[in-house]
């Protein structure tokens, strides 16, 4: 297994290299540059030119690329033009915020989706099942930004149950219990929004897997052994039905750092998604390229992780 893992990681290097080429030149091809946003009628064009020269933006593109990739290879991702600080510390802080929010959201998603999916499958065509299916259709049909705005308006502004932006209130001492509660309080509304919309796929998958598993021969075997129906579900049907969910788990884990653009932007939550949108809007090249490289790496890692997880949960799958 370790041989495969090492091989797969080595294969990632050329993949990431190609990605770096594409993203670097695409980013440079965007109209404008980090300084276009600074231009006002009073700005002296020569001052902008000076800044561009300083930042090395007037160098030929291949040279800029080589300079950038050299730094990246040494672990230096450059400085953000907008935030005037190193990209790695900026992303590190945002990744932490996003990780907390995503983890919270994903736990909510699984806590909601797994019981609903299993119950819907087990009691197929009953009232409960129809309700669950109706819910999943509706949540599938609602765009993220619509529900986010509705929730923000109703629960944030009208009912004032939740704070409407940020990760923590100003002036609360770090490390205290109320600090942690305050952070969770800030995450609740975006996490619930994410969970309400994110359950659809898992519910539908699980439901159809459970329905499918019920008719499998091994379920008949279990029944013929005199195993009570409840145990047939927990020991046989449930475990087999979870396999397709496990297949996505690797992507889910690495996706914890990806963040949701819509949710973070609408709920003013300073995470990776929000950082990504802002860096594109301000042409913050060093941040854009680093983020895309990171997302690319996470996707590759997710597929490797998924394969490893599958080989653990399904004895029929072996990677050597």
């Amino acid at each position: 297994m370790w041989k495969t893992v090492v091989r797969r990681i080595l294969v990632m290097i050329p993949q990431l290299f190609v990605l770096s080429l594409i993203i670097f030149f695409l980013a440079q091809k965007m109209p404008g540059d980090p300084f276009s946003g600074l231009i006002t009628p009073e700005t002296d064009p020569s001052r902008i030119e000076e800044l561009r020269e300083q930042a090395g933006l007037n160098d030929p593109l291949p040279m800029q690329y080589v300079n950038w990739i050299k730094d990246v290879a040494q672990g230096d991702f450059g400085k953000s033009y907008t935030y005037k600080r190193s990209v790695s510390s900026l992303i590190g802080e945002r990744a932490y915020n996003t990780f907390l929010l995503s983890l919270f959201s994903v736990i909510l998603v699984y806590a909601l989706a797994i019981p609903l999916g299993v119950i819907a499958g087990r009691y197929k065509d009953t009232f409960v099942d129809k309700t669950v299916v109706l819910y999943s259709f509706i949540s599938y049909a609602i765009p993220t930004f619509v529900l986010s705005l509705i929730f923000l308006y109703v629960f944030g502004y009208q009912l004032s149950w939740f704070p409407t932006s940020g990760t923590v209130d100003v002036g609360i001492e770090e490390g205290t219990l109320s600090y942690y509660w305050n952070r969770i309080h800030h995450m609740l509304l975006p996490a619930i929004t994410y969970a309400v919309l994110g359950t659809t796929g898992i519910i539908q998958y699980l439901r159809s897997e459970v329905i499918d598993a019920q008719t499998q021969d091994y379920v008949k075997t279990a029944r013929s052994k005199g195993v009570p129906m409840r145990k047939v579900y927990t020991r046989h049907i449930f475990r087999n039905s979870l396999l397709p969910i496990a297949a996505f788990l690797g992507f889910t884990i690495t996706g914890l750092l990806g963040g949701s653009i819509f949710i973070e932007t609408i709920f003013g939550y300073p995470g990776m998604g929000q950082l990504f949108v802002n860096s594109v809007l301000t042409r913050d090249y060093s941040v854009i390229t680093t983020l895309v490289m990171l997302f690319g790496f996470l996707t590759l890692l997710g597929s490797l992780l998924s394969d490893i997880i599958m080989s653990i949960v399904d004895p029929r799958i072996r990677i050597d």
Binding site: T221, G226, V227, N240
Partner: protein
């Protein structure tokens, strides 16, 4: 045969499936008995209701779209009337079931030992250690060469024959009085088939269990069965001891089946077939002789209006009267 030998008594059993709003009987008024130490073979084409009959005996049908009428008497209890919870004490403990395809019938995610152990958990008071011992013992009993190793393996790591042996071990685990084998050799190649049949026979003589063997393979019947019931379109149309059936078949269907077995010693001869197909559940004629449509060259008046079973020789029963004048299709019959 004394009355005390009787293990399982099936009386007027009908199993009907719901299609839209109507119920259609796939097993129609079947009466059979299974005695101790006996292999009762149930033969018939695909779709004749033999597997439905088998699953009815262990109550594995979905109650929402299936209706089971009649009686299945085991140990002075009527299995048909049992609730699912009551039935769970019979299934696995008193009646063991062997499925056709051992690959799909074993849970792919569970080790062999867990799957065998499962019935021991629910039907015996053995502790974990004793159960493990019993699992190894069972694997040995069904002729698995390295039981300790096999116990730790997963189904996909075993060959087809080994998997079927595991299935048999599962069925035997609680020493059931009745074993139902639903086409246990169909998914296996011929040499393995013979081994599995020998194993079943050997285990039977050890345990004295009664076996109901569902098959469409007359070769298998000839090899292991004591008594044979031939099913056609949901009904038993002929029932006889195995020798009697092969030497003296009566019903046109039985005779056609035997006639359609390819002969090795006749070269260049046409393969004998039975005309038409088994009518589907929905289009099945519910009155009159159900086989009539497949012997169209015979006049209609040879059939009984409502065919019943007649004892034509000791222990040999035939449905309908058409057998008396039946002959195979001749040149002159072709229209």
């Amino acid at each position: 045969m004394s009355k005390t030998d009787i293990l399982l008594e099936i009386n007027h059993l009908s199993t009907s499936f719901r299609i839209k709003d109507d119920y259609f009987a796939a097993v129609d008024d079947v009466t059979l008995t299974l005695r101790k130490n006996e292999v009762l073979a149930i033969v018939g084409e695909s779709g004749c209701g033999k597997s439905t009959l088998a699953t009815s005996i262990v109550g594995l049908h979905n109650t929402e779209n299936t209706k089971v009428d009649g009686e299945i008497n085991y140990n002075n209890q009527n299995l048909v009337q049992m609730t699912d919870e009551q039935f769970n004490n019979v299934r696995g403990a008193e009646i063991g079931f062997i499925f056709q395809d051992p690959l799909s019938a074993l849970n792919p995610l569970m080790r062999i030992e867990q799957q065998i152990e499962e019935s021991l958990i629910y039907h015996t008071k053995l502790n974990k250690e004793e159960r493990n011992k019993r699992v190894i013992e069972l694997l040995q009993q069904v002729g698995i060469p390295n039981p300790e190793r096999t116990a730790k393996q997963f189904p996909h790591q075993l060959s087809g024959g080994m998997r079927q042996r595991v299935m048999i071990a599962i069925a035997l685990s609680c020493k059931p009085a009745v074993i139902i084998a639903d086409e246990p050799t169909t998914a296996l190649d011929v040499t393995i088939q013979a081994q599995i049949l020998d194993l079943l026979k050997a285990l039977q003589s050890e345990t004295g269990a009664g076996i109901i063997l569902i098959t469409h393979d007359l070769g298998v019947v000839a090899e292991v069965a004591d008594r044979v019931a031939v099913m056609y379109a949901g009904q038993v149309i002929e029932e006889a001891p195995v020798n009697e059936l092969f030497t003296n078949p009566k019903h046109p269907y039985t005779r056609s089946l035997l006639n359609s077995i390819p002969q090795m010693n006749t070269e260049g001869q046409k393969l004998n077939v039975i005309h038409g197909i088994v009518p589907s559940l929905k289009n099945l004629p519910r009155t009159g002789c159900r086989f009539a449509s497949r012997i169209p060259w015979m006049p209609q008046d040879i059939h009984e209006a409502s065919p019943s079973m007649h004892e034509v020789a000791p222990d040999h029963f035939v449905r309908c009267t058409c057998w008396q004048r039946f002959h195979f299709e001749e040149e002159s019959d072709v229209v």
